[in-house]
Amino acid sequence: MRDALNAESTALMLRLWKSMYRIRAVEERIAERYAEGKMRCPTHLSIGQEAVPSALAENVRGDDFAVSTHRGHAHYLAKGGCLNSMISELYGKATGCCGGRGGSMHLADTSVGFMGTTAIVGNSIPLGVGLALSAQLKGTNQICCVYLGDGAIEEGVFYESVNFSVVRRLPVIFICENNRYSVYSPLAIRQPPEREIFKMVAAMGIRVDSCDGNDVLASCRVAANAVHVVRGGEGPYFLEFSTYRWREHCGPDFDNHLNYRSAEEVAAGMETDPLARAELSLLRADSELQRVLANHRDCVRHEINRAFDFAEDSPFPDPLSVGVGIYA
């Protein structure tokens, strides 16, 4: 990213910036309006962590699968999930992607291969492996992206899932966004200090790579290589990206007052802002892009306005329907 952008990489960077900006703007709007008390569900924002899902989305096909976690807004949006359905889901409305049954932690848009998020750490990892198995058995050449955090590395199901994917050479990419915290518990008390997660995981016989997850172009190159290898039938891949969560674990606010991390650390984390870095390099490459960026900001603002209006105007599901659909 420190290299100057050429025409081709400028176009790529612009797409990545647009994706990241849209995610950031949606998340900031949710934060802004959360206090209204209409989005009545635990909400885990992805602010600061927009680069990795944007980098992956740039390299996968529309019919490729993805599954994610409680912090899944960015993954859903980057993959092309419907914004109206997502905001309505946060509002608990009938037009939400789960008809109001899941809330922020349960997002899916199967029309773009985003198959679901689950609210239990590690839970969606084997689901992604199963989706990859279905693709392999059907010979569809689809791959599956499994998003997880550094906390999930401490769950047994992670190792079980990686092991099976290696044994069966499944078309799956495990994407670890290491933001160094499991809720408020820092990595240092959860894993030994000398550990590098991707190196440990490599011992399981899976290809691995790591990258600064705030450098969106570098992340994109790493993602492109992994997607190429996995789609080529050469088995699974594990990617570790360093990231930083700006706001509280769950909820709309900053959380410096809790003192579980220093103000300096938070400031340094925010200093690595992938969105600002991308914007800076774009404008360095071509100051004329200012207008393109401004135009995109406008479009996104209108899109978000419409999504919130849509959610506000949508009806709640009928209370009598609460027991419907437990079984297929």
Binding site: G99, N123, S124, P126, L127, S134, K138, S161, F164, A328
Partner: protein
């Protein structure tokens, strides 16, 4: 209309399961079947014999010892359009997978509207020193969870019929096999035969008392009912077959007819399904009851391994006979003295069982 004689054959319960699996795999060319030991020389007590040879190792395969992830894999495969049957040689091993079962499989359709057609075969052990963690009857745990279906066949006919119905049901189904039933024999149709999930079966009609049995306890109940019939005590014996959904109409009609209810449950007493059946019948059919309903469930005690400690531990025909007499106020030495004895030895289902599990 001319009734065409259905072709049938004599199969063991284990063979009926093998027959059902083979029938299902032929019907659905995408279906997969896996579990630890599924293609090893013992083939899960013969139930998965020859499946890998017939349908290929890509569809029938052994798995890593990863119960939780492999349950998640079946859910993911189902979301991706592939139905599966996953087998565990003991129910107890599957407890490692409760997260995937309860948090994902059971919730997926309700939350996302996407169906999860998976069948999980769990085998329940008893006797021969199976001990505290190879013998648990935790069917009431599964029946507690909205989104799951739970079945417990007691005959080869229903083993085939319920397994095929479970496999082709669009929901997650827990299919519970009692190890003591694998060698029992019965007549089974050759064709694709299905037993509706949620339907109980009256296997003996009588007006004196309703006995609800499940799984292996239905076998013991049948011995008791046959014995009592020789004294003109006539029992309505219901084989529950399906624990969720449950055939409330059939149970209620029987209770209305007999006015007495005894429920047998191979699970621990507290929180047992028997308690649920008795609660519902007491609340909704109280006016028909002539005596307090009763249950024979296992005590709230882990099953010990020792041959000595398990003597008299299990529910058998003898205990059922004395409970029925008590409920009917019959004090007859002849009936009680001649009552069916516990198997000898008490810790195996028959000569065929030589251990180790």
């Amino acid at each position: 209309m001319h009734e065409i004689q259905e072709r049938t054959r004599e199969l063991t319960y284990g063979e009926a399961i093998n027959d059902a699996l083979s029938t299902a795999m032929a019907l659905d060319p995408l279906m997969i079947c896996y579990g630890l030991g599924i293609s090893d020389p013992k083939a899960i007590f013969g139930t998965t014999k020859n499946l890998a040879d017939t349908y290929g190792s890509h569809r029938v395969f052994d798995m890593p010892t990863s119960e939780n992830a492999m349950t998640g894999v079946s859910i993911g495969a189902a979301i991706g359009g592939i139905r599966s049957v996953v087998t565990h040689q003991r129910l107890d091993f599957f407890l490692l997978a409760m997260d995937q079962l309860v948090n994902s499989a059971a919730k997926w359709h309700y939350t996302y509207g996407v169906s999860v057609p998976i069948t999980i075969r769990l085998i329940i052990g008893r006797g021969w020193g199976q001990g505290p963690t190879h013998s648990q009857n935790l069917h009431s745990w599964f029946a507690h969870i909205p989104g799951l279906k739970v079945v417990m066949p007691s005959t080869p006919l229903d083993a085939k019929g319920l397994l095929l119905a479970s496999i082709f049901d669009p929901n997650p189904v827990i299919f519970l096999e009692h190890r003591w039933l694998h060698n029992s024999k019965g007549t089974v149709p050759v064709k694709d035969y299905r037993t509706a999930l949620g339907s109980a079966n009256v296997i003996n009609s009588g007006n004196d008392i309703t006995i609800v049995g499940m799984s292996y306890l239905t076998v013991e109940a049948r011995r008791a009912v046959d014995y009592l019939a020789s004294f003109n005590i006539l029992c309505d014996l219901i084989d529950l077959r399906s624990l969720k959904p449950i055939d409330w109409v059939l149970i209620q009609n029987s209770v209305k007819k007999t006015g007495r209810l005894l429920v047998l449950d191979s699970g621990f007493t507290t929180g047992s399904l028997a308690g649920e059946i008795i609660a519902k019948m007491s609340m909704e059919s109280f006016c028909y009851l002539k005596s307090a309903p009763a249950r024979l469930a296992m005590p709230d005690v882990p099953e010990p391994a020792s041959f000595g400690l398990t003597k008299g531990f299990y529910i058998g025909a003898g205990k059922i006979v004395s409970q029925v007499c008590k409920m009917l106020d019959i004090i007859d030495e002849d009936i009680l003295c001649g009552s069916p004895e516990e198997h000898v030895p008490h810790d195996v289902p028959g000569e065929w069982f030589k251990g180790p599990f």
